[in-house]
Subunit: 120 residues, 2 copies
């Protein structure tokens, strides 16, 4: 997906054994929340992303520690992101951190911190 | 999830054999697009949904026909919704209709048209 100029990446923990419906809702929550932050702080970037098909890619990560490291890396680069802590109504404990949405942001900048992660 | 006043439901076709990452991205696309429509046309509803935890539920459906019927039912009730047609870069053919986001809207109204569908 590096052919798109702007994308959003959502990174999901695979060590929580969530089902596909649970994962889908967590990813949607992350995606929407991070997109709203970008829309608020950089509306032109949000608009360009939307007009170009709103590219999204879901990647996987194996632990909370790695996910938090990735969040720090994104913050250091000035990329907006959103970390989801689940309400724990189903499948997992309350407050569990499930995934991280990064961007929408410049694809190359996101690739610099996510290139080692595989597709979900 | 009928304990929440406002929710968004995303209904996913299970006859397409999409993987969990593909499903997650399709659901996120539907969720964000429908939420943006509601934000534009009924910002107070969007705001209430967001302030109350942005409840989302992923449900499954077995065919395109049933999905389009559901879209019609939502439209007849005046509920905003968004149908995703995939770009077909991976796993499925271009233009394939993958899922439908309904709302955010009144939970009881959504339940009237989705109560027979099971969790994804």
């Amino acid at each position: 997906m590096s052919s798109v100029e702007i994308k959003q990446v959502i990174v999901v923990r695979t060590d929580l054994q969530m089902g596909k419906g649970k994962i889908a809702v967590q990813v949607a929550h992350a995606s929407l929340s991070s997109a709203e932050i970008v829309k608020k702080h950089n509306s032109s970037l949000f608009k360009r992303w939307t007009l170009n098909g709103q590219a999204k890619v879901a990647l996987k990560i194996e632990s909370l520690e790695q996910l938090l490291d990735l969040q720090n890396s994104a913050k250091k680069k000035g990329i907006f992101c959103y970390l989801v802590q689940d309400k724990g109504l189903t499948q997992i404990d309350e407050g569990t951190t499930t995934c991280l949405a990064i961007g929408p942001a410049n694809s190359l900048e996101i690739d610099e911190i996510t290139s080692e992660l595989k597709l979900l």
